[in-house]
């Protein structure tokens, strides 16, 4: 019996495969399903990985090398006092439902983000905006209440995309943007489908149809990639499975860097973390390369500050307090920390945290510190560690790009409080000259590296695997996104 069934099955399957492989469609794998498809009302980076540049666009956007380039604004000028940004908008841009894009949409989008009932997760990006005015439909004049050298970068984030007044309320389930793809369907729990936007204002998309499938389990994801069910997995979650892909000639593996930083955050308000010598000792005691090897099979770049190689003005500061257990012991003795002193490290679920915690605890044991590892769920981490700062140490990935500002905040969960850093950061945001800004970015990084408020571990790698016949995918990831606008099949 099975002898008859097997060839029949094989025949049916072969047919299915031939039809599915028509080279104008693309199946993309993502680990996490987004909670809604509106990037302007929730923080999850999964939303950006579906929508950024694909469905929604802002006045400006970020490209792979981190540069800010024109989006729906074809150009802009900045006044000499750096307080007025005048955007010249593209003519003839239409939303996917046919609604026209003009300055009224810009005004609506920015005012919606700062309104009292706004639930924009990055409301702070819009804080410098004093007003948005429309002298004519294709000119938007944004006036700031203070100079802000990071304003334009903020407006390139997924949180600052243009949404139309008629569709804004329903974008969560039926996103209507201006991008080269338009949304067709979301089968919750399984996939999002989109198709090429025939009326796109710019370079049309290279594929006709995109299906984004959500596969959380790394083994299931690897199986789907190896079986050819998935053409692209732009951010693959299990580096230890990469060798299976490398052995497969049909697959291309690309390891790059993201703007995300894995940091061992310390509660600077609590003893002994309030003592800089103790924090320096922790940095000296941790061998970043071994940590990276243990967490992600060696993928990831060590960093010495809260900044990564994909960010402009990056400097390598890993030598500030290099791996040196001897030095660590000496500093601990100097700070009066008795051998055997213990503290608690709270670990949210990602592998960098759970696995990293174990490796780091072993390294700290070498210099005489006992670490109690406490695994917790992410919502619990948000409440206990992030909101209430009720913790001693934790390991977490800060995925927001170029977020040096968090160290200048009055109240943030690691309780770093440095008037010098705040002054430097203020100077940086007010700087109008590019050279001066880069210099200040360097000073900010150096100040953090020296103060060691946290132990800076490494930049999260972007591990991509895709069909070797595809081109146009990003190697590095300067902000959370999965830009599919340039992707095409090469044959």
């Amino acid at each position: 019996m099975h002898r008859i069934i097997a060839p029949c099955l094989a025949g049916v399957l072969a047919l299915g495969t031939a039809a599915g492989q028509a080279q104008t469609s693309l199946t993309v794998g993502e680990a996490l399903e987004p909670p809604g498809l509106d990037p302007t009302v929730a923080a999850a980076s999964a939303i950006r990985r579906v929508t950024y540049s694909n469905l929604f666009e802002g006045l400006v956007r970020i490209v792979e090398n981190g540069d800010i380039v024109p989006g729906l604004a074809e150009s802009w000028t900045v006044s000499d006092d750096a307080l007025t940004y005048t955007f010249k908008l593209r003519n003839g841009v239409k939303f996917h439902d046919g609604a026209a894009f003009d300055c009224s949409v810009v005004k609506f989008s920015y005012e919606r983000a700062v309104a009292p009932e706004s639930t924009n997760a990055q409301k702070g990006l819009f804080a410098p905006i004093a007003s948005t005015e429309c002298p004519d439909p294709l000119t938007a004049v944004v006036t700031l209440n203070r100079p802000s050298s990071t304003f334009l970068f903020g407006m390139a984030w997924g949180d600052a995309v243009m949404v139309h007044p008629d569709s804004a309320a329903t974008n969560k389930t039926n996103p209507v943007g201006t991008g080269p793809f338009r949304f067709t369907r979301w089968v919750q729990g399984d996939r999002v489908e989109m198709e090429k936007n025939p009326d796109y204002w710019g370079t049309p998309a290279g594929v006709d149809k995109v299906t984004i499938k959500f596969i959380q389990d790394p083994s299931a994801a690897a199986a789907a990639v190896l079986a050819g069910d998935i053409d692209v997995f732009a951010e693959f979650q299990a580096p230890e499975l990469l060798n299976r892909f490398r052995d497969d000639q049909n697959l291309h593996v690309e390891v790059g860097t993201t703007a995300g930083k894995v940091v061992m955050s310390l509660n600077n308000a609590r003893a002994p973390f309030s003592d800089p010598r103790f924090r320096q000792a922790l940095t000296h005691a941790i061998d970043r390369n071994v940590v990276i090897e243990a967490i992600s099979s060696g993928h990831g770049v060590p960093v010495g500050s809260h900044y990564t190689p994909v960010d402009p003005g990056y400097i390598d500061l890993t030598g500030t307090y290099p791996y040196d257990p001897e030095k660590a012991r000496a500093l601990l003795a100097e700070a009066g920390i008795a051998p055997g002193t213990s503290f608690t490290m709270t670990l949210p679920p990602p592998a960098y945290s759970r696995r990293g915690g174990e490796v780091i605890a072993a390294m700290l044991a070498e210099v005489g510190l006992n670490v109690n590892l406490v695994p917790i769920e992410f919502p619990q981490w948000l409440e206990q560690v992030f909101t209430n700062a009720d913790y001693e140490a934790t390991i977490i990935g800060h995925t927001e790009a170029r977020d040096l500002d968090i160290y200048a905040r009055d109240k943030y969960y690691f309780n770093y409080d440095s008037p010098e850093y705040k002054a430097l950061y203020k100077a940086y945001t007010e700087a109008t000259d590019e050279a001066e800004r880069l210099d200040l970015i360097g000073q900010l990084q150096t100040k953090l590296a020296q103060d060691a408020p946290n132990v800076f571990l490494y930049a999260l790698p972007k591990i991509g695997v895709w069909n070797a016949k595809l081109e146009g995918l990003w190697k590095n990831l300067p902000l959370p996104a999965n830009d599919l606008t340039q992707v095409r099949w090469t044959n």
Binding site: A6, L9, A10, V12, L13, G16, E33, P35, G36, A42, A43, A44, P116, E117, S118, T119, N120, A121, Q122, K123, G124, K172, T173, V187, Q188, G189, D190, K213, F214, I215, Q216, D217, S219, A220, A221, A223, A224, L226, A227, D229, E377, F378, P379, Q380, L382, E383, Q384, F386, T387, H398, E400, D403
Partner: protein, 317 residues
């Protein structure tokens, strides 16, 4: 019989209601604020407050319970925090994955276990019995997620007979849908079949020792006819009990298997909703699952009454 059934239905409703209270209170104890989970680490306090107001999280506990359970009673399970669509709408397509999966797993379990169990009982002590029960013993010990991974390796990656993961969708036809459920159904069903086969074997062996079997043989019925017409039907009560228990177990098993095979079913929705603190979805789903287990137990009770009428009339005969 009518009084028996209506009494059972009343207790069914009360049990579900009690389960809903427990589930609702547990959700309140779960650490983590759903609004904070949605807005992440850069959210400002007033943004959080605005979202909590929109989600109705600032209302008192009792108000929230009553409005939820009131809607639940009329089939309005609320709106998912994360997806912003009615939970009933989310649930429909999920049930269309999980229910066929559970039924297929059940069919595999019963379809394999009954013949094997009866065969082993009839050949008690011989090589066939020893071999099949030996295999069953191993299969009982195999975790279903691991069996799932093995099945993927062999049938999806090596032989390429079935997709490695995911669900083709019923809209693409019956066969693609069933095809994507075969491996997960095997992974779920085979370990259950092993347990069921062992139970069937011992129940049939016990029945074979009863007086009525000797009577049947004495009046000239063949060994085979005695086995299938007399011994097996009388061995069904413990088998049905285990099938009922296995159905509840399948509900939990699908959570794991749906993750291994990446199937968009109810189990994965529960898992995801817990991780994202989509509390309203979790409490509605868990209450529904509890209700479905209660209903299955009810059906099993009815089946007892049908198999053995003495049970529903309080033994009066």
């Amino acid at each position: 019989m009518a009084a028996y059934v209506s009494g059972r239905i009343l207790s069914l409703v009360l049990t579900t209601l009690a389960a809903s209270v427990v589930v609702f209170l547990l959700m309140q104890l779960l650490p983590g604020d759903p609004a904070a989970v949605m807005l992440g680490v850069n959210a400002q306090p007033e943004t959080l407050a605005a979202l909590r107001r929109q989600m109705g999280l600032d209302e008192p506990l009792l108000t929230r319970y009553l409005s939820w359970i009131g809607g639940f009673a009329v089939g309005d399970f609320g709106t998912s925090y994360t997806y912003s669509v009615p939970i009933a709408e989310l649930l429909g397509p999920r049930v269309m994955v999980s229910l066929p999966l559970a039924l297929m797993a059940m069919a595999i379990s019963v379809g394999v276990a009954l013949p094997v169990g009866v065969y082993a009982a009839a050949n008690r002590g011989r090589a066939g019995d020893t071999a099949s029960m030996g295999i069953a013993q191993v299969a009982v010990a195999v975790p279903n997620f691991w069996l799932g991974l093995l099945l993927i390796l062999l049938f999806a990656l090596e032989l390429r007979w079935f997709p490695a993961s995911g669900f083709a969708g019923w809209e693409n036809g019956l066969w693609p849908g069933i095809r994507s459920l075969i491996l997960p159904a095997l992974a779920l069903g085979l370990p259950l079949a092993a347990i069921l086969a062992r139970v069937t074997r011992s129940a049939v062996i016990e029945a074979l020792g009863e007086d009525f079997v000797r009577t049947a043989r004495a009046k000239g019925l063949s060994r085979r006819a005695t086995l299938w017409l007399h011994a097996t039907p009388n061995a069904l009560i413990p088998v049905i009990t285990i099938i009922g228990l296995q159905f509840s177990f399948l509900m939990a098993g699908t959570i794991i298997i749906e993750n291994v095979f990446n199937l968009p079913g109810v189990g994965r929705l529960v898992f995801q909703s817990i991780a994202q603190r989509d509390l309203i979805t979790v409490q509605s789903l868990v209450t529904l699952l509890a209700a479905s287990v209660i209903v299955v137990n009810f059906l099993v009770d009815l089946a007892y009454g049908w198999l053995d009428p003495r049970l529903s009339t309080g033994g009066a005969r």
